[in-house]
Amino acid sequence: MMFTSNPFVEISASIPPAVMQAYVVLMILLVAAGTLFDVVHKGSAKYFFENWRKSIGKGARPLGGGEMMSIAVKTGVVDVLTSGEFCNPRRRIAHLLGMYGFVIYVVTTAILIFRYPTPATPAPAILPILWWIGGLMICVGGYWFWFFIRADVAAEGRSPFRLMRADLFILSLLGSATLGLIWAFLQSRGMTGAGLCFGLYILATTVLFAGVPWSKFAHMFFKPAAAFEKRVSEANGTVKNLPTQTRDDPAQRERHSMELLRDAPMDMGLGIKREAPRHY
C-alpha cells in the first residue's frame, strides 16, 4: 500500500494543492534563473563561444549540417543518455542511477502534484511506485558515490565528512530524496515525525533548486554542451592540439620506427590503468 499511495494526497489536507503547485513552479523558475545567473556571472557561455570561435580560426575543417547533426545525436545518446564520458564504470553506473532516479523522481512528483493532487483524483498505482523507485535510485547511486567513489580527499589529510560548498548539490539531492522517502514512509504508517521530515524534505529540496548558482546543479546544462564541443573538435581536427596519429592507420604501421609493433596485437591491454590510482 505504501508504495502505491500518492504521498502528496495525504498532505493536501493541510497544504492546499495550489500551494504545492505554486512551489513546484517556483522551483522550476529558480533553476532557470539560477542557471542564467550562473552563465552571466561566471562568463561560462562567453568562454565557451570564444573558444569555439578560436578553434575555427585555427584551421579547423568546416563541418556540414549533417555532420553536426550526427555529432549532436551521438552526444545525446552516448554522453547524455548513457553518461559515456565517465572512464570509471562504477562512477558511470552511480551517475546513471542518480540521473535517471532524479528524472523519474522529479517528473512523477510533478505529475502527482499537478494531475492527482487530492483524494478525489486517485493516481494510477504505477506513479507512486515510480516515485519510490526514482527516490531509491537517487539514494543508491548517491550514497554509493558519496561513501565509496568520490575523489579521495583523505589522502590530503581531510576528513571525508568535512562538508563544503562543493558538496551542496549531491548532499541536498540526497537529502531531498532520503527525507522525501522517510516522510512518505512515516506518513503511510501514521507515525510521528512525518511533519518534521516533511519540513526538512522541503528545506533540502529548496536548497537543491535554489542553490543552482553555488552548486553543481547546472552541470546538467553545461556538461552536454562541453561534450558536444569536444566531439566537434575531434571531428574538425583541432582536438585541442592533441595528437591524432594512431597505429590504426596502415601507413603508420609500415613506418620503420613502428617495426617493433608489426606483429603486436592492436589491443595491448590497460597499462597503468590496470590498477586504480590508490598509491598516494
Binding site: 565517465f86 572512464c87 570509471n88 562512477r91 568520490r150 575523489a151 579521495d152 580527499v153 589522502a155 590530503e156 581531510r158 563544503m164 560548498r165 562543493a166 562541453a226 585541442k240 592540439n241 592533441l242 595528437p243 591524432t244 596519429q245 594512431t246 597505429r247 590504426d248 603508420q252 613506418r255 620503420h256 620506427s257 613502428m258 617493433l260 609493433l261 603486436a264 596485437p265 592492436m266 589491443d267 595491448m268 591491454g269 590497460l270 597499462g271 597503468i272 590503468k273 590496470r274 590510482p277 590508490r278 598509491h279 598516494y280
Partner: protein, 159 residues
C-alpha cells in the same frame, strides 16, 4: 614549464597524483580536481600529462621564450602500445610523432626474479655481473659485432 590542469576536463581520478615523482600533483580539497601544488618544483617530466585519461593536464611554456600560440601535447595510447606527440610551433609549423612504448601486451613481460636461483659462491666472487655472460653473449661465440654479423658501418643516417 610547469603543468596545469584544465579543471573542466579533470574528474579527480588521481592517476597524476599517483605517478608524479615530485609528489606535487594533488587533489584540491574543495573542488576535488587535481592541481599542481608547487609549479616551481615541477621538472616537466610529463608523467602526469601522459597518465591523465582525460587529457586534462597540459604544460605551459615560460612567457619569455615560449609565447602564446605554441603547443606540445602528447597522447600515450596504452591500448595501442604507442605514444604520439603533436608539436605546434608559433609560426604554424606542425610536427607529428608516433612511436612504440611497448612491444608486448602490458604485464606479459614482467621478469619473474623470485624464481631466478640466487648466485652461487663462485658467481659472487667472480668478476662477471648479473646475467653475464648470457646477456653479452660471451658464451655464444664471443661479443656480437658488426663484423661477426657480416655488417658494415655506413656513413650518414640510414634505415
Amino acid at each position: 614549464m610547469p603543468t596545469f590542469v584544465y579543471m573542466t576536463r579533470c574528474d579527480g581520478c588521481g592517476h597524476c597524483v599517483d605517478i608524479c615523482p615530485s609528489d606535487i600533483m594533488h587533489i584540491d580539497k574543495t573542488y576535488r580536481r587535481a592541481y599542481n601544488i608547487e609549479p616551481n618544483m615541477c621538472w616537466e617530466c610529463y608523467s602526469c600529462v601522459k597518465a591523465c585519461p582525460q587529457h586534462a593536464i597540459d604544460v605551459r611554456g615560460y612567457a619569455d621564450f615560449a609565447p602564446l600560440g605554441h603547443s606540445v601535447r602528447v597522447h600515450r595510447d596504452e591500448q595501442k602500445g604507442t605514444i604520439a606527440w603533436k608539436i605546434k610551433f608559433r609560426n604554424g609549423t606542425e610536427k607529428n610523432f608516433l612511436s612504440p612504448i611497448t612491444t608486448k601486451p602490458w604485464g606479459t613481460a614482467i621478469p619473474k626474479l623470485a624464481e631466478v636461483p640466487g648466485p652461487s659462491k663462485e658467481m659472487r666472487e667472480g668478476h662477471l655481473l648479473y646475467n653475464e655472460p648470457k646477456y653479452i653473449r660471451m658464451d655464444d661465440g664471443g661479443l656480437h659485432t658488426l663484423r661477426s654479423a657480416g655488417l658494415k658501418m655506413k656513413k650518414g643516417v640510414y634505415y
